[in-house]
């Protein structure tokens, strides 16, 4: 603590999803509606799922819909922030090169001008400014930065042999096709459902590795890191199906980039949020109502859905009488909101959501470096509770980068999600800031001197945790099914929080809705 008295903690804010308004769901004392309106199609939630549903409706020429969002702006897990130095992500920060089957992702990227030429090509051309610049990632381990995240220095020949076997196994999964389905597709709904593959959803990733005779500590660290990074949950808890999906689903390629390159911008995935929102606005006008809490959803005797919205700014309740409802908010809200429908509520309660913490450190200049490979976009620390940090200004074309923003990630693993949420609610910013600076001080000794601001962004229910049984269990399939008036469009419906999944669920829900309303459209999904 002597150091911190020399360098007082940088100022900043403790931010988070609209906690107070959200927690009003727990009380049932919201007032009755002061106004009633008819809405042919309502989308609840303007994360990637909801925005994608609106985008598809608008593209099909259907404008008579409303999107409502609890937060002040759209984007959900792809939201970004910005200050005088740079835009920076608040959660998701990259999109891998889309797979062949991710047709809707490719369509969007072509619309945004980032994918050039034939959107269905095996090797499309991408805008160089969005392809992550070299070096993409590095790992700090034993006082040294190495290229790539899989540990390399001082790893025995026996462990390297296990690395090789692991990649052979993943490549086999990557190539395997059952009929026209890939073993692990992205979107996951298009995956093969061969019994031996579905059996992988009944054990943990760690147990699966051990069953393959893969016990290398370094390999286990790497796989655990990947699971924490993508699912907010360690490999001892994540379903093997989900764990393997991470390594075996991404086969996207490009004409102008290596296949492991990702698409990113200073604001992480914020550009995709802006692109979707703009795609809606230009076709259907302003369809978004923010700061609105949907707190009661009931199917009434007239066959229509009644959705009650609490508008905290106006301190009143608005009732929407809805023809078609697309629920694009996280599924943990369902039991608090839906009236009746006990099977849905029970299914939602079988989900578990991971708490996350993101810190944005504004730096007056790049910090001092340890030896090894040069500053990368994604910088991972070995043996650390955090997942490392990404550099917001990495994509900027600058010779001499000056000020920058580091976005530090940490999934609250090593405790139950309930304990993690309690920690998020009770821990003051200063405690998080001290922990994070102490962690980053190892690779960057002068980090305290250069950090001018440190904002903490908390997300108590950041993503569904794909524990064994969730992905191919009945609860999730219930939400994936089509309904007469109600459809679910959120990454939770896929079981894990990926942009591709959220977008697929949104577009699929919109297409099902259009079909139900008898509208003509060109599908984005085949």
């Amino acid at each position: 603590m002597r150091r911190s008295s020399q360098h007082p903690l940088p100022p900043g804010e403790l931010l988070g999803s609209a906690l107070e308004t959200g927690h009003r769901l727990r009380q049932s004392n919201l007032p009755p509606a002061s106004e009633t309106r008819q809405v042919p199609v309502l989308i609840v939630g303007a994360g990637i799922g909801g925005l994608s549903a609106g985008w598809k409706l608008a593209k099909a020429g259907f404008k008579d819909f409303l999107m409502v969002e609890l937060e002040a702006g759209p984007g959900g897990n792809s939201r970004s922030g910005h200050n005088e130095v740079s835009a920076y992500p608040l959660a998701a920060h990259y999109l891998p090169l889309p797979t062949l089957e991710a047709t809707a992702v490719r369509e969007l990227l072509a619309e945004l001008g980032v994918l050039h030429g034939d959107a269905r090509a095996t090797h499309p051309i991408y805008d160089e400014r969005y392809l992550c610049a070299m070096p993409q990632e590095r790992l700090y381990r034993n006082g040294w930065w190495q290229e790539g995240v899989l540990p390399q220095n001082g790893v025995s020949a026996a462990e390297r042999e296990q690395y090789r076997r692991f990649y052979v196994l993943m490549d086999d999964f990557k190539r395997r096709r059952d009929g026209k389905n890939r073993a692990f597709a992205l979107p996951m709904e298009l995956s093969s459902q061969a019994p031996d593959l579905l059996a992988l959803d009944r054990l943990s990733m760690r147990d699966w590795l051990l069953a393959q005779g893969l016990d290398s500590p370094q390999l286990h660290w790497y796989v655990d890191y990947a699971c924490r990074d993508d699912y907010g949950t360690g490999s001892a808890e994540v379903s093997a199906w989900a764990g393997i999906h991470y390594f075996a689903c991404r086969d996207g390629e490009a004409q102008d980039a290596a296949s492991d390159t990702v698409l990113t911008t200073p604001g992480g995935n914020g550009w995709l949020v802006d692109g979707l929102a703009q795609g809606i606005r230009s076709r259907a006008g302003d369809r978004l109502l923010t700061g609105a809490l949907a707190f009661r959803v009931a199917e009434e005797n007239d066959g229509q859905m009644h959705v009650d919205l609490w508008l905290p700014a106006e301190q009143r309740t608005l009732r929407l009488i809805v023809g078609q409802l697309i629920w694009a908010a996280p599924l943990f809200l369902v039991p608090h909101v839906f009236v009746g429908n006990d099977s849905l509520k029970a299914a939602a309660r079988s989900y578990s959501h991971a708490p996350w913490l993101v810190a944005n450190l504004t730096l007056s200049r790049f910090p001092e470096e340890r030896a090894g490979s040069a500053m990368a976009w994604d910088n991972v620390l070995y043996d650390s509770p955090g997942l490392g940090y990404v550099v917001a200004t990495h994509q900027q074309m600058r010779m001499r980068p000056g000020a920058t923003v580091f976005t530090y990630y940490r999934a609250l693993t090593g405790m139950t999600p309930q304990q993690g949420r309690a920690a998020l609610q009770d821990t003051p910013r200063e405690v998080w800031a001290e922990q994070i600076l102490a962690e980053l001080e190892r690779p960057h000794p002068d980090i305290r001197q250069v950090t001018t601001r440190l904002d903490i962004f908390r997300n108590a229910h950041a993503m569904a945790r794909p524990l064994p049984g969730l992905i191919w269990g009945n609860a999730r399939r219930l939400f994936a099914a089509d309904g007469a008036r109600l459809r679910f469009a959120h990454a939770d419906v896929s079981g894990f929080s990926l942009f591709e999944e959220a977008q697929y669920r949104g577009v699929l829900a919109a297409e099902r809705t259009l079909r139900r309303m008898g509208m003509n459209f060109v599908t984005s999904l085949s």
Partner: protein, 499 residues
């Protein structure tokens, strides 16, 4: 007294290991290949210690006095070893290894004498069992202490030269201590005391003066007199002079020699600009020395020259120092010239000015930051600042020493739609150097030059565009921000040249 002597064993052992580590680290640092350096230094040192131990049998009388002298010799020789070796490396490259192994051998022999002498001094008071056990215990403890302190504290805070001198001082202090402890046994210690105090003084002066050592050594790394030496936030700028030859070094890399820079700058500017009689506006990226601007200003029809260079220290230096203003013919003070100190990438992004001719004169692509300035994305950005008939010329490293790097620049320019015309010229202080002209249409070399030149003639111009077999085109990938392939080519090719 025994405890005191055992403590001096601890100090002596630390010093002994320290000299070995310093020699190994210094030779790894200067010669590279740390495995070989450490292995041969340690081997020589241990072997020499063996010889010292064997020689100790010939010391028969005056054990304490000999011990004191050995300590003084180790202190001076070991203490100055790093400084001396560094100087020898800077002045004469060849005998460095001879000096290294002689120094290691000499120190090793003296250190080898120390422990046998101490054991014989202590023998009078201790049984053999206790003697061996205690002396060797402190010997190894001293080695442990220094092996931990050396990388964590000494090298980072003192550096090799001052660490060496510090241990030299410790050896001399042990000698002084021994003189005091055995003052009753020793007769006539005047000479020993004098030797000790002189050694102490010399080492102390060396330690105090070591700060100036680096700059002195650096002065000799450059062959000529340093007339200007500044570290700006961006780079280390050094200008040297020998008779009428001025040389600019940025981060120790030669940028030009005033004896032949006209060859480089004429070749950079005139093949392109002399084919553009309608050109009015010129942009120079990099080139804060104003030498390219000097050539550009020879064209009277030009209305403006915009120079964008990152480092204000560079442009201020070349706009103020008299010999440099003479060299660039005061180009940076021309009313037509606008000097902007900015990051070229940011400046191109933030501006929408158009130019008829662009000179891209950046440092060679030796790291990822500079590699961005040779990327397809950069050239796309550049293209947006070029008028319909405009040309850009890019300095593109050596097609002879870095052949694939050179052709990688060509491939990259072509990938964004430029029609390219590569060429080369001989600049003696650099070697064979390469340039690439890029435009939207095919380029025709000039039939003549309307401006005064010292190097270019109409007759020799066609030869610039012909590439002999050893510089002919090779396949190269497109340099993109997401692969930085040029930096990798450049590293591997220049590594072949300099090793």
């Amino acid at each position: 007294m025994n405890q005191a002597l055992l403590f001096s064993v601890f100090i002596i052992a630390s010093c002994g290991l320290a000299y070995e580590l310093i020699a190994g680290a210094l030779s790894s640092y200067l010669l590279g290949d740390s495995i070989t350096q450490f292995s041969t230094v340690i081997g020589t040192y241990l072997f020499a210690m063996g010889i010292g131990s064997w020689l100790s049998r010939y010391v028969e009388r005056h054990l304490v006095a000999r011990f004191v002298q050995v300590e003084l010799m180790v202190g001076v020789l070991g203490g100055f070893s790093a400084a001396a070796l560094f100087f020898i490396f800077v002045w004469f490259t060849t005998p460095f290894q001879v000096a290294l192994y002689l120094a290691v051998f000499g120190i090793g022999v003296l250190v080898g004498l120390e422990i046998p002498l101490i054991m014989r001094i202590l023998k009078r008071d201790l049984s053999f069992k206790d003697l061996v056990s205690q002396v060797l215990t402190f010997d190894y403890l001293g080695a442990l202490a220094v092996s931990i302190l050396f990388p964590l504290l000494l090298v980072p805070h003192l550096g090799l030269v001052r660490s060496g001198l510090l241990f030299g001082l410790l050896n001399v202090l042990v000698a002084l201590w021994a003189l005091w402890m055995f003052r009753e046994q020793l007769r006539n210690t005047f000479w020993l005391k004098t030797q000790a105090l002189v050694s102490l003084g010399v080492l102390a002066i060396g330690f105090a003066a070591a700060g100036q050592f680096t700059s002195l050594a650096e002065a000799h790394l450059y062959a000529d007199e340093i007339v200007y030496n500044e570290t700006s936030p961006y780079q280390h700028i050094v200008i040297t002079r020998w008779k009428d030859d001025l040389r600019l070094f940025l981060n120790n890399n030669l940028q030009f020699s005033s004896r032949d820079e006209y060859r480089y700058h004429e070749a950079l500017v005139h093949p392109g600009l002399s084919t553009l009689p309608a050109a009015r506006r010129v942009l120079v990226l990099g080139g804060g020395d104003g030498l390219a601007v000097r050539e550009i200003l020879k064209y009277p029809q030009l209305e403006s020259v915009t120079l964008v260079d990152l480092d204000p220290a560079m442009t201020q230096l070349f706009a103020s120092a008299a010999p440099l203003r003479k060299l660039n013919e005061d180009a940076l003070h021309s009313p037509k010239v606008k000097v902007i100190n900015a990051d070229a990438l940011k400046w191109l992004e933030d501006n929408d000015e158009l130019f008829d001719f662009v000179v891209v004169d950046f440092p060679d692509p030796s790291n990822f930051a500079i590699g961005k300035l040779y990327s397809a994305a950069f050239y796309r950005l550049l293209e947006k600042h070029m008028t319909a008939g405009a040309l850009a010329v890019i300095q593109s490293t050596s097609p002879l020493y870095a052949r694939q790097s050179f052709w990688c620049v060509v491939s990259t320019l072509e990938s964004v739609g430029f029609v390219t015309t590569p060429y080369h010229a001989l600049v003696p202080s650099f070697g064979e150097w390469g340039f690439v002209l890029a435009g939207r249409r095919a380029y025709q070399p000039p039939a003549g030059y309307a401006v005064a030149t010292r190097f270019l003639t109409p007759e020799t111009t066609p030869a610039l565009f012909q590439f002999p077999k050893d510089m002919a085109r090779v396949d190269a990938e497109v340099n993109r921000l997401n692969n930085q392939v040029l930096v990798r080519y450049f590293e591997s090719e220049w590594w072949q040249v300099i090793r």
